[in-house]
Structure formats: C-alpha cells, structure tokens
Amino acid sequence: MSSDDHDHDHHAHNAPESGAALRVKALEAVLVEKGLVDPTRLDTLTDTYEHKVGPHNGARVVARAWVDPAYKKRLLADATAAIAELGFGGPQGEYMTVLENTPRVHNMVVCTLCSCYPWPVLGLPPMWYKSFAYRSRAVGDPRGVLREFGLELPADVEVRVWDSSAEMRYLVLPMRPQGSENLTEDELADLVTRDAMIGSATVEYPSKKASTTPESAA
C-alpha cells in the first residue's frame, strides 16, 4: 500500500495523538460521565467486528449456495432467513437480498449517500467502498470502475448497480469458477473474496493469489 496515492478519506490514519484521537477520548469521558456508555463494553464490540464478523461469513453463504441448490433457492427467495440459517445476522443485516451473478448479468453494490454495507456477512467496509471515488462513480460509470479493479466485463454482459439507499442490504452471489467442481464446500469458501461479494471482482480458480500452475489438484 502506498499511502501517497490515497484520497482524502485516508490521510489521517497514523497521526499521533491527533485532534481526532484527543476528541474521541474527550467524547468517551463525557459519554461515560453522562452514563451513556459502559467502557467495558467497547472492547467487546470492536473485538466482534475485528475478529468474528467479516467476509468469511459471507463466503460460507456463497459456498453453501454453490453446493446446495435447495439452499441457493432459499437464499435468493429470502436472503435474511437463509443467511440466519448459517448463524449470521445483526445490525445492518436485518434486511438482506442476494443478487446472483450469471454469464449475462453482473451485479455490484454501492451506497452513494453514505456507506451502507451488510455487516453480518461482510464485516465493516473497506476504504475503497467508503471512498468518494467509488461512491460517486459506481452508479454512473460502473464498467470504468470495474476496469480499475482489473475486471473487464464483456460488452454484452448487463451491469446492474444497486445503490443501498434504504434499509435493504445486498450481497452478491458470484459465479462459481470453472474447474472448481471437485472442491469441497470449505475449499470453495476459501476462494470467495470480499470484493466478489460486493461485485467488484469475480471468483477465480485457481485463485489469483495462488500459484498459476494448472488446476492439477482438482
């Protein structure tokens, strides 16, 4: 990562005891004093979102849908209930819809007005999802944005962009990659990336990060 390249959304990360850090401490002191916050709860909460909730949850949902047609059917019909079957739910996931990518339709998700995101299945959003660049451009120039992610969609693939402007939260069900027929559900879940479930990537097999050797393992 090169922080020089980052936009405004990014500039103040590692500032030492900066204005923001000081303000947060002061705010916490006031909130505790007023009885609005129990400081012991705060660590539990951040631990949840740093270690328990994340894209690995969504990957379980996707992998299950790939191997279990009945589950996939339920997922597309009532995503909130089907996701709850796997034990996932909570704030910013009360109303879920799953969008299925096909060879003819590619879905991608944005929140132009703030940064709404399906926390229970994807965790907290990455910087790029919250960036002004993505929020401003995804609805008007989706193919251009996807190209910057290295995803060049064929011209005949329809692009559907979903702006999370209300309470519905969206999860993209990516296409199962060719060659993955013999993988187990766990192995499939390992292939599924956060970006593929937002719609800014596809799922690759062998995965891009892995070696480029042919899929002899499969």
Binding site: D7, H8, L27, E28, V30, R41, L42, R160, W162, E167
Partner: protein, 301 residues
C-alpha cells in the same frame, strides 16, 4: 438536503484506490469511535437523525474528513443537540486530557451520574419491517406494484432525505416492494415514522446519464413511496400535471420508452446486444487521473 454527501454521479474524485491487506481500523481512535457510535449513538438519536448529522457537516469539512472522523463529528453534534452535554463540557474534557497530570486519572475519577443505558439495539427494533406495515401511521396498501412505471419526484427538501439527486425527475420501474419502513425524511426530524412502502426502483443507465451510455446498464435505488409518483401517460401526448411534475414528464416524453418495461421486469431482464463498446463517456474518462494509461477518450461529434 442537497448536501455534499449525495455523491452519485459526481466527477473529479479520481480512481478508486484499493488497499491491500487493509486493517479493519487504521488507528486506535477509529476503533474507539466505532464502538462509541454503536453504544451511545443509538441512545442519542435514531439512525436517520444519525445520518442527517453526518450530512450536515459543512461540505469543506466533510471532504477533508475521514470516514470515522465524520462519525465522531456526528456523535459530538448529537450529544450537544440532545442537550445531554454542552460543547463547553466536551471542550473542557479535551483540555483536561491535554494536561498530563490530569489525563492519567481521567477514567478513574469519572462518576457515573446515571445508570448505564441498554446495549445498542439492532435497527429492526427501531424501524419495523414489512410485517409491521399495519401499524399506526403506515400506509396499509402499497401504492405501486412491481412493473409499474414511476418517476422519482423532483423534491429538494432542506432536511434529511434518502432520494439521491441523480434519480430525481427520472423515470424508472418498480422492481421489488420491500414492505413498509419508516420514512427517513420525517423520522430524522422527530416528525414520526410515517411508515410507507419502500421499493427497489430500476433505472436505465441511459435514462440517468444520457443516451451515449450502454443500453445494458441499470441502477437500482431503494425509494420510499413519497419519493415517487406514477407515470400515467406513456405516449408523446404528455400533459403537465398539477403537482409540479412538469420537468419529469417532459423527460419521459424525450426519452425513448422502447422496451423499458420489459427490460426491468423481474427475472426477465432482456439482454440487449451492444454493437459498439460505449462503456465510458469521454467526460468520465477525463476525470480519471490515469486515463491515458487505461483508456483513450473517444472523440464524439
């Protein structure tokens, strides 16, 4: 409000930068403000008022802030506006922390003046979903049904709204009915939930951004009933109606209505072949910093 937060369709923010191996939080204070936001935020206001507090950040400050700085700003704003604490109290707490000797015993000297409030409650408790459509103040019956042509009303309220500017005045098709939800425009301002149906409305990219865009791009936006009005006239014989929809209806007349309805009907979006690649307009390329590397603007006449 037509605020800086309403970014859809704006140019000039450059490329989307993706950070490899990104941490969940980039600093300890971000971690802390996130937790404070969840625990205390719920007690200060509902989610709609929370969002509105972020939208009211002055534009120049909004643009210069990080995501969690905006959350911090929102918390401070709501704390003061709720009357629970004054700006002076917050400032005093900061000064106290800046004094080395005092900073250490800040936490231990704090006396709680009130019992600790309950945990952050999920949104569902605040804003009932489809099953609650019959509760007081809600509209029991949906005004629109799937497949209906609608226009996003040209509304410009100075307060909170979730109708993005880029859809206003444009024609779309009801794709799904999500059921009844509290209307942000009233809920954010303490004017009641005013529950009403909220729909996924599909707009063609060409309708929103112009006819030089590919035919096979669609944007789906979730819009409350009050944001929408029906399209009753689909032919060229458009007569402006009484309640201020003149611009929108004129737009309908000027945009080819061909196949719109079919294309957006659920589960049978028709595939439209695009003979030539038209994915990027020249203008959108121009704002891309590295445009010359990735794509070449095509001259348009």
């Amino acid at each position: 409000m037509n605020g800086i937060h309403d970014l859809g369709g704006m140019h000039g923010f450059g490329r989307v930068i993706r950070e490899e191996n990104e941490p969940i939080f980039h600093a300890d204070w971000e971690r802390r403000v996130f937790a404070l936001f969840l625990v205390a935020g719920r007690q200060l206001s509902n989610l709609d008022a929370t969002r509105h507090a972020i939208e009211r950040i002055p534009p120049e400050r909004y643009l210069a802030s990080t995501y969690y700085e905006r959350w911090l700003y929102s918390l401070e704003t709501r704390l003061v506006e709720s009357g629970i604490a004054t700006r002076d109290e917050i400032d005093a707490a900061q000064r106290k922390l800046q004094t080395p000797s005092a900073a250490g015993d800040m936490d231990s000297t704090v006396e709680r003046s009130a019992p600790v409030a309950p945990e952050f409650e999920p949104r569902a408790r605040v804003m009932d979903g489809p099953s609650d459509a019959s509760s007081e103040g809600s509209r029991k019956t949906a005004r629109f049904k799937v497949g209906d042509q609608v226009i996003a009303r040209n509304l410009n309220p100075p307060g909170h709204t979730r109708s993005p500017r880029y859809v206003r005045g444009h024609r779309g098709t009801i794709f799904r009915d999500w059921g009844a939800f509290a209307l942000p425009d009233s809920n954010a301002h303490g004017l009641g939930a005013n529950r009403q149906h909220c729909y996924s409305v599909g707009f063609s990219g060409r309708e929103l951004w112009g006819t030089d865009r590919p035919r096979n791009e669609h944007v789906f936006v979730d819009l409350w009933e009050d944001y929408l009005e029906p399209v009753r006239v689909r032919s060229r014989a458009v007569a402006p109606r009484a309640h201020g929809a003149k611009t929108a209806l004129h737009r309908v007349a000027s945009v080819a209505p061909v196949k719109q309805k079919k294309k957006l009907a659920p589960a049978k979006m028709k595939q439209v072949q695009v003979p030539k690649r038209k994915a990027l307009s020249a203008s959108s390329k121009a704002v891309t910093r590295t445009a010359k590397k990735t794509a070449r603007p095509r001259k348009r006449r």
